[in-house]
Protein backbone atom coordinates (compact mmCIF):
# COMPACT_ATOMS: atom_id res chain seq x y z
CA UNK A 1 0.00 0.00 0.00
CA UNK A 2 1.27 3.48 -0.79
CA UNK A 3 1.02 5.83 2.18
CA UNK A 4 -0.31 9.37 1.91
CA UNK A 5 2.39 11.30 0.11
CA UNK A 6 3.18 14.90 0.90
CA UNK A 7 4.62 17.12 -1.77
CA UNK A 8 5.83 20.62 -1.26
CA UNK A 9 2.58 22.12 -2.44
CA UNK A 10 0.04 19.30 -2.48
CA UNK A 11 -1.11 16.25 -0.65
CA UNK A 12 -2.08 13.17 -2.57
CA UNK A 13 -3.99 10.30 -1.12
CA UNK A 14 -3.89 7.38 -3.56
CA UNK A 15 -6.77 5.00 -3.08
CA UNK A 16 -9.00 7.84 -1.97
CA UNK A 17 -11.68 9.40 -4.15
CA UNK A 18 -10.96 12.99 -3.17
CA UNK A 19 -7.53 13.61 -4.59
CA UNK A 20 -8.34 15.86 -7.51
CA UNK A 21 -5.97 18.79 -7.20
CA UNK A 22 -5.93 21.95 -9.28
CA UNK A 23 -3.71 24.94 -8.76
CA UNK A 24 -4.43 28.55 -9.49
CA UNK A 25 -2.31 29.86 -12.34
CA UNK A 26 -0.89 32.91 -10.65
CA UNK A 27 2.41 32.38 -8.90
CA UNK A 28 1.27 34.21 -5.77
CA UNK A 29 -1.75 31.91 -5.46
CA UNK A 30 0.17 28.68 -5.45
CA UNK A 31 -0.74 28.02 -1.82
CA UNK A 32 -4.44 28.10 -2.63
CA UNK A 33 -4.78 24.71 -4.15
CA UNK A 34 -8.13 23.05 -4.59
CA UNK A 35 -9.31 19.53 -4.11
CA UNK A 36 -11.70 17.94 -6.53
CA UNK A 37 -13.62 14.76 -5.92
CA UNK A 38 -13.23 12.16 -8.64
CA UNK A 39 -15.90 9.80 -9.83
CA UNK A 40 -13.99 6.85 -8.43
CA UNK A 41 -10.78 6.31 -6.49
CA UNK A 42 -7.57 6.63 -8.40
CA UNK A 43 -5.75 3.30 -8.40
CA UNK A 44 -2.45 3.35 -6.59
CA UNK A 45 0.49 4.03 -8.84
CA UNK A 46 -1.42 5.59 -11.74
CA UNK A 47 -0.44 8.89 -13.17
CA UNK A 48 -2.58 11.29 -11.23
CA UNK A 49 -3.09 13.99 -13.82
CA UNK A 50 -3.95 11.60 -16.60
CA UNK A 51 -6.51 9.95 -14.39
CA UNK A 52 -8.05 13.25 -13.33
CA UNK A 53 -8.58 14.31 -16.92
CA UNK A 54 -9.83 10.88 -17.88
CA UNK A 55 -12.56 11.21 -15.26
CA UNK A 56 -13.66 14.44 -16.87
CA UNK A 57 -12.31 16.80 -14.26
CA UNK A 58 -11.58 19.60 -16.69
CA UNK A 59 -10.39 22.93 -15.41
CA UNK A 60 -13.51 24.96 -14.78
CA UNK A 61 -12.11 28.44 -15.28
CA UNK A 62 -9.55 29.76 -17.74
CA UNK A 63 -7.28 30.87 -14.90
CA UNK A 64 -7.10 27.35 -13.48
CA UNK A 65 -4.17 25.32 -14.66
CA UNK A 66 -3.15 21.79 -13.98
CA UNK A 67 0.23 21.34 -12.40
CA UNK A 68 1.90 18.19 -13.55
CA UNK A 69 2.84 16.11 -10.56
CA UNK A 70 5.22 13.17 -10.63
CA UNK A 71 3.80 9.72 -11.10
CA UNK A 72 3.61 7.76 -7.91
CA UNK A 73 5.84 4.83 -7.43
CA UNK A 74 5.47 2.05 -4.95
CA UNK A 75 7.10 3.09 -1.69
CA UNK A 76 9.53 0.73 -0.07
CA UNK A 77 8.38 1.93 3.35
CA UNK A 78 5.59 -0.16 4.78
CA UNK A 79 3.20 1.09 7.43
CA UNK A 80 0.98 -1.04 9.64
CA UNK A 81 -1.79 1.04 11.17
CA UNK A 82 -2.98 -0.23 14.56
CA UNK A 83 -5.39 2.53 15.46
CA UNK A 84 -7.08 5.47 13.76
CA UNK A 85 -9.20 8.31 15.09
CA UNK A 86 -10.99 11.27 13.58
CA UNK A 87 -10.60 14.27 15.87
CA UNK A 88 -12.38 17.56 16.15
CA UNK A 89 -10.68 20.46 17.90
CA UNK A 90 -12.73 21.85 20.79
CA UNK A 91 -10.38 24.30 22.48
CA UNK A 92 -7.02 25.85 21.63
CA UNK A 93 -4.65 27.30 24.21
CA UNK A 94 -1.15 28.72 23.82
CA UNK A 95 0.68 25.45 24.44
CA UNK A 96 -2.03 22.79 24.06
CA UNK A 97 -5.34 21.95 22.50
CA UNK A 98 -8.18 19.60 23.36
CA UNK A 99 -10.25 17.54 20.98
CA UNK A 100 -13.01 14.97 20.81
CA UNK A 101 -11.78 11.73 19.26
CA UNK A 102 -14.06 9.31 17.47
CA UNK A 103 -12.57 5.85 17.12
CA UNK A 104 -12.32 5.04 13.41
CA UNK A 105 -10.97 1.53 14.07
CA UNK A 106 -13.76 0.37 16.35
CA UNK A 107 -16.93 2.47 16.27
CA UNK A 108 -18.24 0.73 19.40
CA UNK A 109 -15.59 2.45 21.48
CA UNK A 110 -16.66 5.59 23.33
CA UNK A 111 -15.85 9.10 22.24
CA UNK A 112 -12.83 10.39 24.15
CA UNK A 113 -11.79 13.89 25.08
CA UNK A 114 -8.04 14.25 24.78
CA UNK A 115 -5.54 17.02 25.38
CA UNK A 116 -2.50 17.33 23.13
CA UNK A 117 0.69 19.31 23.45
CA UNK A 118 0.90 21.86 20.65
CA UNK A 119 4.24 20.34 19.60
CA UNK A 120 2.41 17.26 18.34
CA UNK A 121 1.19 19.37 15.40
CA UNK A 122 3.64 19.72 12.55
CA UNK A 123 4.63 23.23 11.50
CA UNK A 124 2.91 22.83 8.14
CA UNK A 125 -0.42 22.12 9.88
CA UNK A 126 -0.26 24.81 12.58
CA UNK A 127 -2.25 27.30 10.52
CA UNK A 128 -5.07 24.77 10.28
CA UNK A 129 -5.37 24.34 14.04
CA UNK A 130 -8.57 26.10 15.12
CA UNK A 131 -11.76 25.26 16.98
CA UNK A 132 -13.83 23.02 14.73
CA UNK A 133 -10.86 21.81 12.68
CA UNK A 134 -10.82 18.12 11.76
CA UNK A 135 -7.72 15.98 12.04
CA UNK A 136 -6.77 12.35 11.59
CA UNK A 137 -4.62 10.58 14.15
CA UNK A 138 -3.01 7.24 13.42
CA UNK A 139 -0.79 5.03 15.52
CA UNK A 140 1.13 2.15 14.02
CA UNK A 141 4.47 0.72 12.98
CA UNK A 142 6.66 1.78 10.08
CA UNK A 143 8.91 -0.82 8.51
CA UNK A 144 11.96 0.69 6.84
CA UNK A 145 13.59 -0.77 3.70
CA UNK A 146 16.51 -1.72 5.94
CA UNK A 147 14.31 -3.91 8.11
CA UNK A 148 13.98 -1.54 11.04
CA UNK A 149 10.63 -1.10 12.82
CA UNK A 150 9.56 2.25 14.27
CA UNK A 151 6.43 3.00 16.28
CA UNK A 152 4.81 6.08 14.77
CA UNK A 153 2.11 8.58 15.70
CA UNK A 154 0.84 10.66 12.81
CA UNK A 155 -1.45 13.61 13.35
CA UNK A 156 -2.60 15.32 10.14
CA UNK A 157 -5.11 18.14 9.82
CA UNK A 158 -7.75 18.03 7.10
CA UNK A 159 -7.38 20.53 4.31
CA UNK A 160 -10.80 21.74 3.32
CA UNK A 161 -11.92 23.14 -0.02
CA UNK A 162 -12.14 26.90 -0.34
CA UNK A 163 -15.33 27.97 -1.99
CA UNK A 164 -15.65 30.94 -4.26
CA UNK A 165 -18.53 33.39 -3.96
CA UNK A 166 -19.89 31.87 -7.16
CA UNK A 167 -19.90 28.41 -5.54
CA UNK A 168 -21.75 29.76 -2.52
CA UNK A 169 -24.28 31.64 -4.63
CA UNK A 170 -25.04 28.48 -6.57
CA UNK A 171 -25.38 26.41 -3.38
CA UNK A 172 -27.67 28.98 -1.79
CA UNK A 173 -29.92 29.00 -4.84
CA UNK A 174 -30.37 25.22 -4.55
CA UNK A 175 -31.03 25.53 -0.82
CA UNK A 176 -33.62 28.26 -1.35
CA UNK A 177 -35.39 26.21 -3.99
CA UNK A 178 -35.66 23.20 -1.68
CA UNK A 179 -36.80 25.34 1.26
CA UNK A 180 -39.52 26.89 -0.88
CA UNK A 181 -40.70 23.44 -1.95
CA UNK A 182 -40.91 22.19 1.63
CA UNK A 183 -42.63 25.35 2.84
CA UNK A 184 -45.48 25.04 0.36
CA UNK A 185 -48.77 23.92 1.89
Amino acid sequence: MIPSTSYQDAILRPGSSDIGVLFAARQEDLQKFLYRRLAKPVPSGTNYITQALFEGQEPRAPEDVLVRLPSLRQSKWKVTVLQKWVGRVEEVQADRFSAALVDATNSRNPIEQVEFDMREVSESDRSLLAVGATFYWSIGYRHTPGGQVERISSLRFARLPRLSELDVTRMFAEADQLAAFLERD
Binding site: E90, S107, P110, Q113, L182
Partner: protein, 363 residues
Amino acid sequence: MSLFGPGIGECIVVHVGGGDWIIVDSCIDRSSRGPIALKYLRSLGVNVESQVKLVVATHWHDDHIQGLAEILDAAKSARFVNSAAYALKDLMRLVVLGNAMPPTSSATREYDAIVKVLKERRDASERREAVGPIPALANKKILAQTVRTAACSLEVEIYALSPSDGVFNIAHHIAQHELSDAFSAIQHGRRPVVQGPNQLSVVLWLKVGALDVLLGADLEHVAGATEGWRAIVHSRERPSGKASCFKVPHHGSRNADCPESWTELLSAKPIAMLTPHAPSGLPKDADIARLCARTPFVYLTGDPARYGRPRRDNAVEKTLREVTLSRRAVSGRMGHVRLRADAIDSGQEPLVELGNGAQQLCA
Protein backbone atom coordinates in the same frame (compact mmCIF):
# COMPACT_ATOMS: atom_id res chain seq x y z
CA MET B 1 -41.98 8.09 29.39
CA SER B 2 -38.34 7.19 28.88
CA LEU B 3 -35.28 9.42 28.97
CA PHE B 4 -32.08 8.05 27.45
CA GLY B 5 -28.59 9.52 27.75
CA PRO B 6 -25.15 8.09 26.93
CA GLY B 7 -23.03 11.07 28.09
CA ILE B 8 -23.30 12.98 24.83
CA GLY B 9 -26.87 13.21 23.59
CA GLU B 10 -30.36 12.62 24.82
CA CYS B 11 -33.62 11.16 23.60
CA ILE B 12 -37.13 11.10 25.05
CA VAL B 13 -39.80 8.58 24.11
CA VAL B 14 -43.34 9.05 25.40
CA HIS B 15 -46.40 6.85 25.19
CA VAL B 16 -49.27 9.32 24.86
CA GLY B 17 -52.02 6.74 25.18
CA GLY B 18 -53.90 4.40 22.88
CA GLY B 19 -50.68 2.91 21.54
CA ASP B 20 -49.47 6.24 20.12
CA TRP B 21 -45.94 7.47 20.78
CA ILE B 22 -43.89 10.59 20.30
CA ILE B 23 -40.09 10.90 20.06
CA VAL B 24 -38.25 14.02 21.13
CA ASP B 25 -34.61 14.32 20.00
CA SER B 26 -32.34 11.38 19.36
CA CYS B 27 -29.04 9.81 20.26
CA ILE B 28 -27.19 6.72 19.02
CA ASP B 29 -26.93 3.43 20.83
CA ARG B 30 -23.34 2.25 20.34
CA SER B 31 -24.11 -1.45 20.56
CA SER B 32 -26.75 -1.45 17.82
CA ARG B 33 -25.24 1.58 16.02
CA GLY B 34 -28.74 2.98 15.54
CA PRO B 35 -31.08 5.42 17.28
CA ILE B 36 -31.94 4.24 20.78
CA ALA B 37 -35.59 5.22 20.29
CA LEU B 38 -36.06 2.71 17.47
CA LYS B 39 -34.28 -0.04 19.37
CA TYR B 40 -36.39 0.58 22.47
CA LEU B 41 -39.76 0.85 20.74
CA ARG B 42 -39.14 -2.24 18.64
CA SER B 43 -38.16 -4.15 21.80
CA LEU B 44 -41.60 -3.24 23.16
CA GLY B 45 -43.27 -4.51 20.00
CA VAL B 46 -44.33 -1.04 18.88
CA ASN B 47 -45.01 -0.66 15.16
CA VAL B 48 -42.86 2.41 14.58
CA GLU B 49 -44.25 2.96 11.10
CA SER B 50 -47.82 3.48 12.27
CA GLN B 51 -47.68 4.22 16.01
CA VAL B 52 -45.21 7.10 16.23
CA LYS B 53 -47.15 10.34 15.67
CA LEU B 54 -44.59 13.08 16.23
CA VAL B 55 -40.84 13.35 15.82
CA VAL B 56 -39.55 16.55 17.42
CA ALA B 57 -36.15 18.19 16.98
CA THR B 58 -35.92 20.57 19.93
CA HIS B 59 -32.89 22.29 18.43
CA TRP B 60 -30.03 21.60 16.01
CA HIS B 61 -27.20 20.72 18.31
CA ASP B 62 -25.08 17.64 17.67
CA ASP B 63 -25.98 16.10 21.01
CA HIS B 64 -29.73 16.15 20.36
CA ILE B 65 -30.20 15.03 16.80
CA GLN B 66 -28.02 12.03 16.00
CA GLY B 67 -30.17 9.40 14.31
CA LEU B 68 -33.24 11.61 13.98
CA ALA B 69 -33.39 11.16 10.20
CA GLU B 70 -33.41 7.37 10.56
CA ILE B 71 -36.25 7.68 13.07
CA LEU B 72 -38.28 9.92 10.77
CA ASP B 73 -37.68 7.61 7.85
CA ALA B 74 -38.99 4.65 9.88
CA ALA B 75 -41.91 6.56 11.43
CA LYS B 76 -43.97 6.88 8.25
CA SER B 77 -47.04 8.22 10.09
CA ALA B 78 -45.17 10.85 12.08
CA ARG B 79 -45.13 14.56 11.51
CA PHE B 80 -41.80 16.30 11.90
CA VAL B 81 -41.68 19.26 14.29
CA ASN B 82 -38.94 21.85 14.21
CA SER B 83 -38.33 25.14 16.03
CA ALA B 84 -40.06 28.00 14.22
CA ALA B 85 -37.04 30.12 15.08
CA TYR B 86 -35.10 28.29 12.39
CA ALA B 87 -36.39 29.70 9.12
CA LEU B 88 -36.21 26.85 6.66
CA LYS B 89 -34.36 28.94 4.10
CA ASP B 90 -31.66 29.95 6.59
CA LEU B 91 -31.36 26.42 7.93
CA MET B 92 -31.00 24.98 4.43
CA ARG B 93 -28.29 27.49 3.63
CA LEU B 94 -26.39 26.52 6.78
CA VAL B 95 -26.72 22.89 5.81
CA VAL B 96 -25.33 23.36 2.31
CA LEU B 97 -22.42 25.36 3.68
CA GLY B 98 -21.77 22.65 6.28
CA ASN B 99 -21.98 19.95 3.64
CA ALA B 100 -19.28 21.69 1.65
CA MET B 101 -16.88 21.05 4.54
CA PRO B 102 -16.52 17.30 5.03
CA PRO B 103 -16.53 15.57 7.41
CA THR B 104 -19.84 17.19 8.24
CA SER B 105 -21.19 17.70 11.74
CA SER B 106 -23.98 15.48 13.02
CA ALA B 107 -26.39 18.40 12.91
CA THR B 108 -25.69 19.15 9.27
CA ARG B 109 -25.74 15.52 8.20
CA GLU B 110 -28.98 14.79 10.05
CA TYR B 111 -30.83 17.80 8.74
CA ASP B 112 -29.72 17.06 5.22
CA ALA B 113 -31.04 13.50 5.60
CA ILE B 114 -34.28 14.70 7.19
CA VAL B 115 -34.90 17.06 4.31
CA LYS B 116 -34.49 14.14 1.91
CA VAL B 117 -37.12 12.15 3.86
CA LEU B 118 -39.50 15.11 3.90
CA LYS B 119 -38.95 15.77 0.21
CA GLU B 120 -39.77 12.14 -0.64
CA ARG B 121 -43.04 12.45 1.22
CA ARG B 122 -43.89 15.79 -0.31
CA ASP B 123 -43.01 14.43 -3.75
CA ALA B 124 -45.64 11.79 -3.09
CA SER B 125 -48.16 14.65 -2.86
CA GLU B 126 -48.46 14.67 0.91
CA ARG B 127 -49.34 18.05 2.36
CA ARG B 128 -47.02 19.92 4.68
CA GLU B 129 -49.55 19.73 7.51
CA ALA B 130 -49.45 15.93 7.31
CA VAL B 131 -45.69 15.62 7.07
CA GLY B 132 -43.90 18.68 8.34
CA PRO B 133 -41.81 20.50 9.03
CA ILE B 134 -44.33 21.82 11.54
CA PRO B 135 -42.89 25.03 12.98
CA ALA B 136 -43.15 25.00 16.78
CA LEU B 137 -43.74 28.33 18.45
CA ALA B 138 -44.74 29.31 22.00
CA ASN B 139 -48.26 28.21 22.95
CA LYS B 140 -48.93 26.42 19.69
CA LYS B 141 -50.81 23.14 19.98
CA ILE B 142 -48.94 20.56 17.93
CA LEU B 143 -50.99 17.46 18.76
CA ALA B 144 -54.56 16.97 19.96
CA GLN B 145 -56.42 13.71 20.06
CA THR B 146 -58.90 11.76 22.07
CA VAL B 147 -58.00 8.20 22.91
CA ARG B 148 -61.07 6.05 23.52
CA THR B 149 -60.97 2.69 25.21
CA ALA B 150 -63.76 0.47 26.47
CA ALA B 151 -63.35 1.91 29.95
CA CYS B 152 -62.76 5.62 29.32
CA SER B 153 -61.59 8.31 26.98
CA LEU B 154 -58.34 10.20 27.35
CA GLU B 155 -57.64 13.72 26.12
CA VAL B 156 -54.14 14.23 24.79
CA GLU B 157 -52.72 17.66 23.99
CA ILE B 158 -49.15 18.65 23.28
CA TYR B 159 -48.08 22.29 23.21
CA ALA B 160 -44.86 24.00 22.33
CA LEU B 161 -43.97 26.58 25.00
CA SER B 162 -40.99 28.00 23.14
CA PRO B 163 -39.38 29.57 21.16
CA SER B 164 -41.05 32.72 22.43
CA ASP B 165 -42.27 35.53 20.17
CA GLY B 166 -39.31 37.58 21.38
CA VAL B 167 -36.84 35.00 20.15
CA PHE B 168 -38.78 34.40 16.94
CA ASN B 169 -38.57 38.11 16.14
CA ILE B 170 -34.77 38.13 16.35
CA ALA B 171 -34.23 34.64 14.94
CA HIS B 172 -33.54 35.87 11.42
CA HIS B 173 -30.74 38.09 12.70
CA ILE B 174 -29.31 35.16 14.66
CA ALA B 175 -29.39 33.03 11.51
CA GLN B 176 -27.74 35.78 9.45
CA HIS B 177 -25.00 36.00 12.06
CA GLU B 178 -24.53 32.23 11.90
CA LEU B 179 -24.42 32.28 8.12
CA SER B 180 -21.87 35.06 8.21
CA ASP B 181 -19.71 33.07 10.66
CA ALA B 182 -20.07 29.94 8.56
CA PHE B 183 -19.12 31.78 5.39
CA SER B 184 -16.12 33.34 7.11
CA ALA B 185 -15.00 29.90 8.35
CA ILE B 186 -15.26 28.50 4.87
CA GLN B 187 -13.28 31.38 3.42
CA HIS B 188 -10.49 30.40 5.82
CA GLY B 189 -10.75 26.71 4.99
CA ARG B 190 -12.36 25.83 8.35
CA ARG B 191 -15.53 23.96 9.09
CA PRO B 192 -18.40 26.08 10.47
CA VAL B 193 -18.86 25.38 14.17
CA VAL B 194 -21.57 27.75 15.38
CA GLN B 195 -24.82 25.89 15.99
CA GLY B 196 -27.17 28.57 17.27
CA PRO B 197 -28.16 29.51 20.80
CA ASN B 198 -30.15 27.27 23.15
CA GLN B 199 -32.87 29.94 23.22
CA LEU B 200 -34.16 28.59 19.91
CA SER B 201 -35.10 25.30 21.65
CA VAL B 202 -38.59 23.85 21.65
CA VAL B 203 -39.91 23.29 25.18
CA LEU B 204 -42.92 20.98 25.25
CA TRP B 205 -45.92 20.68 27.56
CA LEU B 206 -47.66 17.32 27.45
CA LYS B 207 -51.19 16.90 28.80
CA VAL B 208 -52.07 13.23 28.80
CA GLY B 209 -55.27 12.72 30.73
CA ALA B 210 -54.59 13.70 34.33
CA LEU B 211 -50.82 13.98 33.77
CA ASP B 212 -48.86 17.10 32.90
CA VAL B 213 -45.25 16.78 31.79
CA LEU B 214 -42.74 19.56 31.05
CA LEU B 215 -39.85 18.76 28.69
CA GLY B 216 -37.30 21.55 29.07
CA ALA B 217 -35.00 20.89 26.06
CA ASP B 218 -31.90 23.10 26.46
CA LEU B 219 -33.74 26.37 27.08
CA GLU B 220 -31.75 28.80 29.20
CA HIS B 221 -32.72 31.37 31.82
CA VAL B 222 -32.07 35.03 31.11
CA ALA B 223 -32.99 38.21 32.95
CA GLY B 224 -35.56 39.55 30.48
CA ALA B 225 -39.10 38.27 30.08
CA THR B 226 -39.14 38.10 26.29
CA GLU B 227 -37.08 34.95 25.98
CA GLY B 228 -35.92 31.94 27.95
CA TRP B 229 -37.81 30.47 30.89
CA ARG B 230 -39.27 33.76 32.09
CA ALA B 231 -41.08 34.19 28.78
CA ILE B 232 -42.83 30.87 29.48
CA VAL B 233 -43.52 31.63 33.14
CA HIS B 234 -45.06 35.03 32.29
CA SER B 235 -47.04 33.84 29.28
CA ARG B 236 -50.81 34.14 29.69
CA GLU B 237 -51.53 31.84 26.80
CA ARG B 238 -49.69 28.76 28.00
CA PRO B 239 -51.72 25.74 29.10
CA SER B 240 -52.89 25.80 32.68
CA GLY B 241 -51.85 23.31 35.33
CA LYS B 242 -48.65 22.24 36.96
CA ALA B 243 -46.43 19.45 35.74
CA SER B 244 -45.51 16.56 37.98
CA CYS B 245 -42.67 15.42 35.73
CA PHE B 246 -39.87 17.64 34.45
CA LYS B 247 -37.08 16.95 31.97
CA VAL B 248 -34.55 19.39 33.43
CA PRO B 249 -33.17 21.74 30.75
CA HIS B 250 -29.60 21.78 29.52
CA HIS B 251 -28.24 18.95 31.65
CA GLY B 252 -29.01 20.79 34.89
CA SER B 253 -26.69 23.71 34.19
CA ARG B 254 -26.92 26.83 36.32
CA ASN B 255 -27.62 29.06 33.33
CA ALA B 256 -30.76 27.06 32.54
CA ASP B 257 -32.13 27.22 36.06
CA CYS B 258 -35.10 29.53 36.53
CA PRO B 259 -36.40 29.49 40.15
CA GLU B 260 -39.81 30.78 39.02
CA SER B 261 -40.31 27.79 36.74
CA TRP B 262 -40.25 25.52 39.80
CA THR B 263 -42.97 27.47 41.58
CA GLU B 264 -45.14 28.48 38.62
CA LEU B 265 -44.90 25.52 36.24
CA LEU B 266 -44.24 22.53 38.46
CA SER B 267 -46.11 20.83 41.27
CA ALA B 268 -44.47 20.40 44.67
CA LYS B 269 -41.65 17.85 44.63
CA PRO B 270 -41.96 16.85 40.99
CA ILE B 271 -40.06 14.01 39.39
CA ALA B 272 -37.06 15.63 37.73
CA MET B 273 -34.93 13.75 35.22
CA LEU B 274 -31.88 14.81 33.27
CA THR B 275 -29.00 13.59 31.13
CA PRO B 276 -25.32 14.40 31.66
CA HIS B 277 -23.21 16.24 29.09
CA ALA B 278 -19.84 14.71 29.78
CA PRO B 279 -17.64 17.01 27.63
CA SER B 280 -18.72 20.06 29.64
CA GLY B 281 -18.92 18.20 32.96
CA LEU B 282 -22.65 18.81 33.43
CA PRO B 283 -24.34 18.50 35.80
CA LYS B 284 -21.74 19.83 38.25
CA ASP B 285 -21.92 19.04 41.98
CA ALA B 286 -23.45 22.46 42.64
CA ASP B 287 -26.12 21.79 40.00
CA ILE B 288 -27.05 18.51 41.65
CA ALA B 289 -27.20 20.16 45.09
CA ARG B 290 -29.47 22.89 43.72
CA LEU B 291 -31.80 20.38 42.07
CA CYS B 292 -31.95 18.25 45.21
CA ALA B 293 -32.90 21.31 47.24
CA ARG B 294 -35.99 21.64 45.04
CA THR B 295 -37.15 18.05 44.89
CA PRO B 296 -35.89 14.80 46.37
CA PHE B 297 -36.87 12.94 43.18
CA VAL B 298 -34.01 13.68 40.79
CA TYR B 299 -32.83 11.04 38.32
CA LEU B 300 -29.72 11.14 36.12
CA THR B 301 -29.21 8.76 33.19
CA GLY B 302 -25.54 8.17 34.00
CA ASP B 303 -22.42 9.30 35.82
CA PRO B 304 -19.65 10.23 33.34
CA ALA B 305 -17.03 9.74 36.08
CA ARG B 306 -17.76 6.04 35.79
CA TYR B 307 -17.40 5.83 32.02
CA GLY B 308 -14.60 3.40 31.31
CA ARG B 309 -11.84 4.03 28.79
CA PRO B 310 -11.47 1.35 26.15
CA ARG B 311 -8.48 -0.98 26.37
CA ARG B 312 -6.45 -1.14 23.18
CA ASP B 313 -3.32 -2.81 21.80
CA ASN B 314 -0.29 -2.36 24.10
CA ALA B 315 1.59 -0.30 21.52
CA VAL B 316 -1.42 1.97 21.12
CA GLU B 317 -1.85 2.36 24.87
CA LYS B 318 1.85 3.19 25.26
CA THR B 319 1.67 5.84 22.52
CA LEU B 320 -1.50 7.29 24.05
CA ARG B 321 0.30 7.74 27.36
CA GLU B 322 3.29 9.36 25.65
CA VAL B 323 1.40 11.70 23.33
CA THR B 324 -1.63 12.90 25.29
CA LEU B 325 -1.61 15.26 28.25
CA SER B 326 -4.98 14.00 29.50
CA ARG B 327 -7.62 11.63 28.27
CA ARG B 328 -11.12 10.57 29.35
CA ALA B 329 -14.15 8.85 27.88
CA VAL B 330 -17.09 11.21 27.38
CA SER B 331 -19.65 8.66 26.30
CA GLY B 332 -20.67 5.49 28.03
CA ARG B 333 -23.58 3.17 28.59
CA MET B 334 -27.01 4.23 27.37
CA GLY B 335 -28.57 5.18 30.70
CA HIS B 336 -32.33 4.87 30.88
CA VAL B 337 -34.81 6.49 33.25
CA ARG B 338 -38.37 5.25 32.76
CA LEU B 339 -41.40 6.80 34.39
CA ARG B 340 -44.66 4.91 34.45
CA ALA B 341 -47.73 6.77 35.65
CA ASP B 342 -51.47 6.33 35.43
CA ALA B 343 -52.91 8.97 33.13
CA ILE B 344 -56.44 8.43 34.42
CA ASP B 345 -55.99 8.08 38.15
CA SER B 346 -53.63 10.85 39.25
CA GLY B 347 -53.71 9.46 42.80
CA GLN B 348 -51.62 6.46 41.77
CA GLU B 349 -47.95 6.67 42.73
CA PRO B 350 -45.74 6.88 39.62
CA LEU B 351 -43.12 4.19 39.19
CA VAL B 352 -39.56 5.16 38.26
CA GLU B 353 -37.27 2.47 36.84
CA LEU B 354 -33.53 2.91 36.31
CA GLY B 355 -31.43 1.01 33.80
CA ASN B 356 -27.87 0.87 32.45
CA GLY B 357 -26.19 3.02 35.06
CA ALA B 358 -29.01 5.54 35.58
CA GLN B 359 -29.24 6.67 39.18
CA GLN B 360 -31.32 8.55 41.69
CA LEU B 361 -29.54 11.59 43.07
CA CYS B 362 -30.25 13.19 46.48
CA ALA B 363 -30.67 9.76 48.10
